[in-house]
Amino acid sequence: MAHGHTVKRYSGLMDWLTTVDHKKIGILYLIAGGFFFLLGGLEAILIRLQLWKPLNDFVSPDTYNELLTMHGTTMIFLAAMPLLFALMNAIVPLQIGARDVAFPFVNALGFWTFFFGGVLLNVSWFTGGAPDAGWTSYVPLASTTYSQNHGVDYYVLGLQISGIGSLIGGINFLVTIINMRAPGMSFMRMPMFTWTAFITSALILFAFPALTVGLAALMFDRLFSANFFEVANGGNVVLWEHIFWIFGHPEVYILILPAFGIISEVISTFARKRLFGYSSMVFATMLIGFLGFMVWAHHMFTTGLGPIANSLFSIATMLIAVPTGIKIFNWLFTMWGGSIRFTAANLFAVGFVPTFVMGGVTGVMLAAAPADFQYHDSYFVVAHFHYVIVGGLVMGIFAGLHYWWPKMFGRILNEGLGKLTFWTFFIGFHLTFFVQHFLGLLGMQRRIYTYQDGLDFNLMNLISTVGAILMGIGTIVFLVNVVVTWAKPKNAANDPWEDGRTLEWSIPSPAPEYNFVQTPLVRGYDALWKEKMDGNKGMTPAEPIGPIHMPSPSILPFVMSLGLFVTGLGLMYNFVFAGIGLLITFGCMFLRSVFDDHGFHIEPEELQDKGVKA
């Protein structure tokens, strides 16, 4: 059998710029998301340094508002989501026995649009001011009347471009999970992480368009003097709040559901036990995703929506506690009767459970609208969402990274350093955020650049700052771990934890570029575990060995996204460049449309020669 095309192979930097391999894209997401995580973390440390004592003047109020805006925006859009996409890319195709995602080209495009959107957002630091209206960017503060520099323009355009990446990434995973499961892998046999990736992708599909619309309206207001949010001309500022939170609340679940998936995998593996109540876990996840769209106005109890809306949204929000509770107890009872091994990955997962419960219960407290009149926009809220996002999501990501690192890179992260990361980060986290509940209840509002002396806020703010520094140290230990591990030989076994249950542990670490020499036959939930228990050495193949079709690498996604980046800058400073940028992007789309690329095949003989290859 001949190649359909000359095989295009790049090496070095070009390899990374042109790759359409989901595993490499996963690594790209990890590097970029990790970079933005460090950036957002640095911003957080600066915020805490400003607040360590009352009436401090470490940063100016303008800079502080930029820091808090960029910290929130960066962490949500440029760190948390990409890091989840990193794990989803690296693992989901392996878990369902697929050779790649459904649309490898689109996958690369999703990464590069995210990347250039994020870079665009951060360029604002060097061009006269970052956005400073909060990550929620409430109008009128974010309108041109009150925010005259380009800061918020960067927010609007940067998020719009990176939002394209999230949206097409979500669609890609939906299609992949629906269409590319190995024979026998029915929906109710899918690993929990794949399930959560699936539901998160569905949430992305429905939630991101709302953000797109909101950002487009704000862009028209700011760049072309439209009046969507100009009250004097008939616009409505509460409309922005609605649009933002119709996106913003599901976004919270977009972030947390994959973390739930990771925790389910890690806890089950290291307890050597099947996930307790798998089907109720699946339905709880769906229910959370569904209810997640019905609760956005709980961010707006003080907006003045009236008692009927406030009651309905209170009750709807409280209901989310039920499926979440189901998950918590399922995790606890997965460990019940198990044989729990405390690896670094499992420490993060085990630490996640009580921490997330604490974030969850404050969520129910916030759901009681009249009490929320007191909590709203105070440090209580800050404590709540950091418990959910850092204590939940970031712990989940750390658990996932320690767990799947061997599958992604062929090396196991150093366990000692991993445990040190856990303890410093975990203790630092609780020091930072636990006291903030009380700061809020004692009357400290959020997003203030300084506070008066003598109001009983000093000690708790100091504790919070110390905790933040400890979290910073934990993160540095993790980076050291990455470097140390890098220097070690690539010798991780297929199933380095020895208790792997799902398909990704049936193939070499790291996975070869075609993932599976032969598509596996799935005979039950926890496919690999089932084979192990039946005394089989590995998965039964579902097909004979044959040529494997691979997608060709392409530089087009990179150039297309670069075009959007140029367009974004051009829209702010010079429309000619915006035109050039669009020309580049549409030119690439044209090229992609007219030149067919059928990819290439890896022949069976080649499979024999190569053996394990990244």
Binding site: A271, R272, G325, V353, M365, A369, F373, G443, Q452
Partner: protein, 347 residues
């Protein structure tokens, strides 16, 4: 029903404990945990109920988690394969139904309070009507029933319903008096929000802006001064009394030309920016410079010192506010600050 009662019985001691633990936490003039009026008390009641339920949940989870983690840890050399349990219907129903019951216990009073606090007193003759307008970065309080307008300090009678109509003149702000009532956003345009509160006893309560509104968001504090009914009436009269200008005619002219173009004092001047009547006995200058004779902190000083500091460089005190550096010599600033610090109302 039986089930619900059992849960209640278990909740009661917890609730009692919480009340003891949380009550009187924090400053009387600032803390939501130390409510000084019926609105904040109702909100605090709901907070106590929800915290009790949540502590119960957290304790149950923690106990199970700690037990599991200790009891089922893998010992060295243990290669046992645990029983692969699929699930347990009975357990799963229990941890679905109990949270639902807990939510009903929390949900019913929540809805009741939502409607209770939404009561509209805007046409109640016994309530004091106050129109609150938020500005970057100060608060305007207008009393339409009395024809009085003031800024930064809302003087109200204690033990009376204060009915608030809140809006903004520019960006979103949020009106919050932690010890007296939860917050309400101030929206632009005709989108006014209403709320009410009441102070149980005379005192000065901290008020805050709780919605990010620009660089000086942190400085956008105000005060609610609750006084007895007779004092309140005297205050209204004093606010409307004709103002005396500075004795020195040169200073008086400067004051009229430089200050009263924007500000009002007594019956004189413009109403666009904060009213200066009675500056001498306000708790703070510009919301954040606390007036005191024993300054302890960098933002404290006598009323005279604070006024001087403020007039000399308003942007240094509150970046981004609308007040410019006024064209005054140092002596003139001194004289005007002295004059304003002597403007005290008798109430």
């Amino acid at each position: 029903m039986m089930n619900r009662w059992h849960v209640m019985k278990r909740l009661m001691p917890l609730l009692a404990m919480m009340s003891l633990l949380l009550a009187a936490c924090g400053r009387e003039d600032l803390s939501t945990l130390n409510p000084q009026g019926p609105v904040a008390e109702q909100q605090f009641g709901l907070m106590k109920l929800s915290i009790s339920i949540m502590v119960l949940v957290v304790v149950v989870v923690f106990v199970i988690a700690i037990y599991v983690l200790i009891r089922f840890r893998r010992k060295p050399g243990d290669n046992r394969i645990p029983v692969q349990v699929e699930g347990n219907h009975k357990l799963e129903i229990i941890w679905t139904v109990i949270p639902l019951i807990l939510l009903v216990i929390l949900g019913v009073p929540t809805v009741k309070t939502v409607f209770g606090l939404a009561k509209d007193y805007s046409n109640d003759e016994n309530a004091i009507q106050v129109k609150v307008t938020a500005h970057q970065y100060w608060w305007e309080f207008e009393y339409p029933g009395y024809g009085v307008k003031t800024a930064q300090e809302m003087v109200v009678p204690a033990n009376a319903i204060i009915s608030i109509e809140a809006k903004t003149a520019d960006v979103l702000h949020s009106f919050w008096i932690p010890a007296l009532a939860g917050k309400i956003d101030t929206n632009p345009g005709g989108n006014v929000n209403r709320m009410y509160f009441e102070a149980n006893k005379p005192g000065v309560y901290y008020g805050k802006c709780a919605e990010l509104c620009g660089p000086s968001h942190a400085y956008m504090d105000f005060k609610v001064k609750a006084v007895d009914e007779a004092s309140f009436q005297r205050w209204v009269t004093a606010m409307k009394a004709p103002a005396e200008l500075p004795a020195d005619p040169a200073i008086a002219e400067k004051f009229v030309n430089e200050c009263l173009t924007c500000h009002a004092i007594g019956d004189k001047g413009g109403q666009l920016y904060p009213n200066l009547t009675g500056m001498g006995d306000k708790v703070a200058v510009a919301g954040f410079l606390i007036n005191t004779d024993n300054p302890l902190y960098a933002n404290e000083g006598s009323a005279y010192e604070n006024l001087k500091r403020w007039i000399a460089d308003p942007q240094e005190v509150k970046p981004g506010n609308s007040m410019p550096k006024v064209n005054l010599t140092e002596q003139e600033i001194d004289a005007i600050a002295k004059y304003l610090s002597e403007q005290k109302l008798d109430y």
